[in-house]
C-alpha cells in the first residue's frame, strides 16, 4: 500500500515538472510562433481581433455575371447561416422618413434619391427646431419628400446558386468564409521593398569575415598565452582579463572618431576589422589550450616541428568543439549587433545596411503591415537559430562551462 502511494507521488511529481517546463517552454516559443505565423498572413488578417495563430485566406468564388471572383461571407438569411458572395461593397444606404411621421422609415440607396427641388435649390423643413434638407424618395411608385435620419454602409451579398437573391448587410460585421492558407510571397515582397537581399548579403559577409578573423587571431593569441613562456605574458594576460567586462559603449565615441580619421565611416570594413581582435576570444581559446596535455606537444617539438606546425597540425584538429563554440559566439554577436552599425553606417546608405539596420528602416517604412515587418524580423532571426540548432551540442555546454570557470 505504501509502495503504491510512493509511485503515485512520483508520477504526480513528474507530471508537475513537465507541466511547469512546458508552460515556460510555450512562453519562450510563443513570440517565435507569432512571428512565423504573422509573416505568412495577409494584412487584413493581422489586424483581426481576436488574434488567431494560423494564417487564413478569404475564400472567393466565380459567379456568373461577375467579372472577378467574389469573396464569400456568412450571412443570416431567414434566421439561417448561409454562405453568400459579396458582390458590391460600400453601398451607402440612407434611412428616410417623412417630416411629419418620423417612425415611418424607408431605406433607400443614397444614389437613387434626389434632393427635392433640385441640387441648387433644395427645399428644407423644420423638424424639432432644426432645419433639415428634404429628399424625393420613391415609395410604391409615389414620390414623397422625406428627411434623412441616418445612413450606413452595407454590402450586397448574392446567393451562390441564384445570384438574383440579394441580401444587404454590414460588411465589417459579417464573418468571411476563410481557408487556412499561407502567403510566403510576403518574404519576397519585403526583400524587394527594403533592399533586404543586400542587407542579408552584407550581414553574411560581415559575419563570415569576423568569424574567420577572430578565430585566427584568438587561436594564435590563445596559444601564446597558454603554451609559450615569455616575459610580460602574465601582465598582458591580466590586462586582457581586466578588459573583458568593459562594456562596448565605452569605446563607441573614440572608435567612431578613429573610423572618421581613417575614412571607414559608412564602410563595411568598420563593421569587420575592429571586431577581429577581442580579448574574450583569446581568453576562451587560452582556457581551452591550457587543458591540452603538454606531452604531445613536447614530443612534436623533439621531432623538430615548429610551433606553427604544432598549432595547425596537432592542436587545432583536436580543438574543433572549442573552435565551434567561439565561432558560434562570434557569429551571434556579429549577426545581431545593432548599435555600432547604427552609429557607423549612414541611414541613407542603404547599400551598406546590415539586417538589423534594415529592420530599423523597415519598422518605419512598413508600419501598417505587420506581416511584412515580421517577415523581415524572421529573415534576421532564423539564420542564427539554424546555426544554434546545428552547433548547440557544443554551444550550450560551453556557455555552461564559461560560467563555471569565469
Amino acid at each position: 500500500m505504501k509502495f503504491e502511494g510512493y509511485r503515485f507521488r512520483r508520477y504526480l511529481n513528474n507530471f508537475i515538472i513537465y507541466f511547469i517546463l512546458t508552460i515556460f517552454g510555450l512562453v519562450m516559443l510563443f513570440p517565435f510562433m507569432y512571428m512565423i505565423s504573422t509573416s505568412f498572413k495577409i494584412p487584413s488578417d493581422t489586424f483581426r481581433y481576436p488574434p488567431r495563430m494560423l494564417p487564413r485566406d478569404p475564400v472567393t468564388i466565380e459567379i456568373a455575371g461577375y467579372d472577378e471572383p467574389l469573396p464569400l461571407y456568412y450571412v443570416q438569411v431567414d434566421g439561417e447561416k448561409k454562405q453568400y458572395a459579396l458582390a458590391k461593397s460600400n453601398i451607402k444606404v440612407g434611412t428616410y422618413a417623412p417630416a411629419d411621421n418620423l417612425t415611418a422609415t424607408v431605406e433607400e440607396y443614397l444614389t437613387e434619391v434626389k434632393p427635392t427641388g433640385g441640387a441648387t435649390n433644395q427645399q428644407k423643413v423644420e423638424v424639432n427646431g432644426k432645419e433639415e434638407k428634404l429628399f424625393d424618395v420613391e415609395v410604391d411608385g409615389q414620390i414623397i419628400p422625406m428627411i434623412l435620419i441616418s445612413q450606413t454602409t452595407v454590402g450586397e451579398f448574392v446567393d451562390l446558386q441564384n445570384p438574383e437573391n440579394k441580401v444587404f448587410q454590414n460588411v465589417r460585421l459579417s464573418e468571411p468564409v476563410e481557408n487556412i492558407g499561407a502567403h510566403p510571397e510576403n518574404y519576397t515582397e519585403v526583400i524587394e521593398l527594403n533592399n533586404m537581399a543586400r542587407a542579408l548579403t552584407n550581414t553574411a559577409l560581415v559575419t563570415i569575415l569576423v568569424v574567420i578573423g577572430q578565430l585566427l587571431t584568438s587561436v594564435v593569441g590563445g596559444y601564446a598565452f597558454a603554451r609559450l613562456k615569455f616575459p610580460g605574458r602574465d601582465t598582458v594576460f591580466v590586462f586582457y582579463l581586466g578588459t573583458i567586462m568593459i562594456p562596448f559603449v565605452m569605446l563607441i565615441v573614440p572608435l567612431y572618431q578613429l573610423m572618421v580619421l581613417i575614412g571607414w565611416t559608412d564602410r563595411l570594413a568598420a563593421l569587420i576589422i575592429p571586431w577581429i581582435f577581442t580579448a574574450y576570444g583569446t581568453f576562451l581559446m587560452r582556457q581551452h589550450f591550457i587543458t591540452f596535455p603538454k606531452e604531445i606537444e613536447e614530443a612534436a617539438l623533439l621531432d623538430g616541428a615548429s610551433r606553427l606546425q604544432i598549432l595547425t597540425q596537432v592542436l587545432i584538429p583536436a580543438s574543433v568543439p572549442a573552435l565551434a563554440t567561439l565561432a558560434t559566439f562570434t557569429f551571434l554577436y556579429a549577426w545581431n549587433s545593432f548599435i555600432w552599425p547604427l552609429v557607423i553606417i549612414n541611414v541613407g546608405n542603404e547599400k551598406n545596411h546590415v539586417l538589423t539596420l534594415a529592420l530599423n528602416v523597415l519598422r518605419g517604412r512598413a508600419s501598417d503591415t505587420p506581416n511584412l515587418i515580421l517577415a523581415g524580423a524572421a529573415i534576421a532571426i532564423i539564420p542564427p537559430l539554424i546555426v544554434f540548432i546545428l552547433g548547440q551540442r557544443f554551444f550550450v555546454e560551453s556557455v555552461a562551462s564559461s560560467g563555471v570557470k569565469g
Partner: protein, 557 residues
Amino acid sequence: MAVPSQIDSQTNLILRLYVFWRILFALLAIFGALAPWLGYFPVDSTWLKGGLTLALSVAAIFSGVGAVQISRLHHSGRMISLILDYLSFVVCTVVVLNTGEIFLGIDALAETFTSGLPFLGIAIAGYFLGSLDEYFPQKEQTSESSLKIVGQWVMLTGFILFLWRVGAVNGIFYFFGKLAQPLGIISVFGALIFGFAIWGMTQQKIAYALHAKNSDEQIINGWLFLSPNLLGFLVFFAGPLLLSFYFSFTDSDAFNTPNWVGFDNYARILNIRFAWLTAPDQLAREVVDIKIYDEVGRFLIGNGGILFAAADKFFWLALRNTLTFVLFAVPLSVIPALVLSNILNSKLPGMKFYRAIYFMPSIAAVVGISLVWQWLYNATIGYINYFVTVGIGFWNNLFNLAVVDPKIQWVSDEKTALLAVVIIAAWQTMGFNTVLFLAGLQNIPRELYEAATVDGAGAWDKFWRITLPMLAPTTFYVVSTTTIQAMQVFEQVFILMNPPEGPNNSTITLVLYLYRNGFQNFQQGYASAIAWVLFIVIFGLTLVQFQRQRRSSIYEG
C-alpha cells in the same frame, strides 16, 4: 663577450650589414619624426603629428641602441632588430592593403558576393567530400585515397570559380592600379625589405653568432603569436579606451579639434540641487534657480517634501530609468532561471530538449525580437492584451466578479512603458541564465545531498543549505553579467518606443542618452563623460556583488 673565432666571414659581413641597416633605419626614423613639422603630412592635427614624432623618435633611439648591441654581438641587438623590423613590416603591410583599398573593397565584394555563393557552396561541398574519406577507410594506406583527391580538386575549382564570379580578377588589377602611386610603391618596397631583414635575423647562423638561447626562440614565438591580436587590441580597444577618457575632459564634437574643458562635463552631469518643499505642489521655480536647474522628481513627506533638481535633467532621468530597469529585469531573469535550472537538473528524459528551447530567445537578434514584441504589445490587436482579456473574463466567470479589463496601452503609457521593456529583457535572458545555473548545479557533488538525506534533511532544506551556498559563485557570475548587460539596455527601447525616449521620457536610458548626445547632437566629449559615469556605476554594482559573494560563500574551495 664576443667570440669572433666562431663566426665565419660571411656571417660577419651580414652582421656588419645589419649594423649599417640599423643606423640607416635610425636616420630614416629621425627624418620621419621631423617630416610632419616641415609640412610633409596630410592631416593637420597636432596630436597625430606629435604621436608620429614620438613613435619614430623612440624607434630611432632603439635602432641606434640595436646597432651598437649587434656590433657588440649582444643578443639584445637581435631582439631590438626583430621587434623594430616586425613592427615596421606590419605598418608597411597595412599601408599596402589600405593604399590598395582592400578594406574599402569589402563593399565591392558585398555587391558581387551573392553571385559567387553557389561556387562557394561547391567549394564547401568539396571539403565535405574530402572529409567523407575518413568514414570509408581504404585498405591500402600507402596512396592517398581517390575521394580525398577528388574532394580537394572540387574545393579548389569551386573556390577559383567563386573568386572569378565575385570579380577577384578585376579586384587584383584595381589593387595594383591603386598601388602604383608613391606611397604604395614605397610601402611595398618597405614591406619587402623589412620582411627580408626579419628572415635574415631568424637564420640559425646569425642567431648563434648573436648568442641566442633556446628560451629566446620561445620569447620570439610568444610575442609573434600574440602580436596580431595584441596590436589590433591596442589599436581598436585599449587605445580608444584611453582616448575615451581623454575625450570626457574635452568638448569634442567628432570633427573639430577638441578643446580641453577640465571637469566641466562631469560637473554638468553632477550639478544637482536638493530643496525643501513647504507644500506638495509647490512650484520648482520658487525653490531652485530654474535658469540652471530642471526638476527631476520630488519625494513627498507629509505636508512638505524634497525637490530633486539637476542641471542635466535627462541624465538623471536616464539613470533612474536604467537603475529601475536593472532592479526589475535582473531578478525577473535570474530567479525563474534558478527555479527552472533546479527542475531541469532532475534526471528525467527530455531535459536537453527543454534546455534548448529556453535558450532560443537569447540567440535571436534583439532588434527582431523587439519588433515581434511591439506587435504582441499592441493595445488593440496584440496577443498580450488578448490574453489579459481572456484571463479576466475567465476569472470574472469563475468567481462572479466584475474586474474591469484594463486594456493596457503598453508602450504608450508612461506607467507601463519601462515594464514592457523589462518583460522583453527578462524573457530573453532567462534561458541563458538557466543554462549557466544548470552547469553550476551539475558541479555540486552528489555526496553532499546523499549525506543530507541520511541526516534527514527535506528537499527544501537541501535547497537552502546545500544548493544555494554551493551555487554562490555561479550566482555571482549570473547576476553580475546580467546586471552589466541590463545597465546597457538600448536596443529594446530604441526599437519598441516611438520616440525611443518613450512617453514622458519614461524609457530614456543611459546608453540611449549617450547615443543621443554623441551621435545626434555630436557632443562627443559629453557623451564620453556619460560613458565613464556608466562604467563607474557598473563597476560599483559589480564590486558590491563581489563583496557580498565573498562574505556569503563559505563553502567555496
